[in-house]
């Protein structure tokens, strides 16, 4: 398992580089501001359809709160992009016993209120056009272990061009009203609700 590393210089470079590529690639990054609780850490649950969504959410959360950003990545991605560990990335290998270690680590991070952990519970890349979201079980274990210590935020991202050459990313955020779930179906259902409303909003855009 790959752990995040602290290095202010490399983190600074990564921050500037992310800002540069987002500015050159996107026309706009829109998100709705939501309230964050300073007493609690944040567990950010998002849909996964490209490499951009991690970067876009890193940028968004940086503007929304001053919490330390962490993201759970697949081990192969973390190995391919070794710089990401300086931006708070840690890895998970779904096929090995290490997976539990990564889940425990995510839960440990959530115990400290200054942390933010971004998780893509879909576990792999799906199309941006999925209508039914499928979650893997790991998210349930993280939530059980870190019970009551975190604020749960849902994010649904959609990227579209409209009248501009460059695309616009629309990020729909919402605070989950309930943080305790009986099983994985209940979490998926709760996220699905947020995803559906966000998708409806996105679909309504006509220019």
């Amino acid at each position: 398992m790959i752990y995040p590393k602290k290095n202010r210089l490399l983190h600074g470079i990564l921050y500037l580089y992310t800002r540069y590529i987002l500015k050159t690639h996107f026309y706009q990054i829109n998100f709705n501001a939501i309230e964050t609780d300073p007493e609690k850490s944040i567990l950010l649950v998002a849909n996964h359809f490209s490499i951009w969504d991690g970067l876009v959410l890193y940028w968004t959360m940086h503007r929304l709160s001053d919490k330390n950003f962490h993201v759970m990545l697949l081990e192969e991605t973390a190995k391919k992009e070794p710089m990401l560990k300086y931006g708070g990335a840690f890895s998970i290998n779904k096929t090995s016993k290490d997976a539990l270690q990564s889940i425990n680590y995510a839960a440990q991070l959530l115990a400290a209120p200054q942390n933010l952990v971004l998780v893509f519970p879909q576990g792999k890349l799906y199309s941006n056009f999925v209508s039914d979201v499928h979650f893997e079980k790991g998210i349930m274990k993280i939530m059980e272990q870190a019970k009551g210590k975190f604020q749960l935020i849902y994010a649904a991202t959609f990227i579209e061009n409209f009248q501009h050459k460059k695309p616009t990313a629309n990020i729909y955020l919402s605070n989950a009203t309930n943080c305790t779930f009986e099983d994985i179906k209940a979490i998926t259902g709760s996220y699905q609700q947020h995803y559906n409303t966000s998708r409806q909003q996105q679909t309504k855009i006509v220019l």
Binding site: S50, N128, E160, Q202
Partner: protein, 208 residues
């Protein structure tokens, strides 16, 4: 209405620029399915309209797949802002003026020549790529009924997905809507909407 002022050598230059440089630079994969193309038929190409790039993709397909001379119908205010497109085969329509009929007739005249392909966005406005309904404006019915020659009507739903790449990929789901001889507005409208919903489902399972 602004008629096209296509200059063949300008269009050839633009084609080289788009196919060899611009599209490979901006996009990862452009993928389309095979459909039956009728010989000795012009093509009326209908597509979903959701981005700045739509016209360029249609031009790309006209060159690499349909092998026809490319023309495109654009909103008058949009064309006035980019008059260079006028030399590449763009002509205008103003939905709020009386000249709208003239644009439709002009489209039908272009389609009388079997070497031509005319791209029309039947929705008439930019609609989100996630939209599940495709509105086909009545003008399409008028165009098809005015065509005197043989014309094949083709529709595609294009979707953008990123997956592992930083560059977007475009997936075209092409549909053969028959010819102008057996055209029925309501039937084609229903067919296109059914195809679009199916394409949205297929997009979720697309290989990447």
């Amino acid at each position: 209405m602004i008629p096209h002022r296509r200059i063949r050598w300008v269009q050839t230059l633009a084609r080289q620029y788009l196919l060899k440089y611009r599209i490979p630079k901006e996009f990862n994969i452009l993928q389309y399915n095979d459909i039956e193309l009728l010989p000795d038929h012009s093509i009326l190409l209908l597509c979903n309209h959701f981005s700045w790039w739509d016209g360029f993709w249609a031009g790309y397909l006209a060159n690499v797949y349909f092998h026809k001379d490319f023309y495109i119908m654009m909103q008058e205010d949009h064309l006035q802002k980019r008059m260079y497109l006028n030399y590449l085969g763009a002509f205008s329509i103003n939905r709020h003026s009386k000249e709208v009929i003239r644009s439709l007739q002009y489209t039908a005249e272009l389609l009388n020549n079997t070497d031509n392909l005319v791209t029309v966005f039947p929705q008439g406005e930019l609609v989100s790529n996630h939209s599940e309904e495709i509105n086909i404006e009545r003008g399409i019915d008028y165009i098809v009924k005015k065509i005197k020659g043989n014309c094949q009507i083709i529709y595609y739903s294009a979707f953008i997905d990123y997956f592992e790449s930083l560059k977007p990929s475009v997936y075209f789901h092409l549909l053969n809507c028959g010819t102008n001889r057996d055209f029925d507005y309501e039937k084609v409208k229903a067919l296109i909407n059914k195809h679009h919903k199916q394409a949205l489902k297929c997009q979720v399972n697309v290989k990447h």
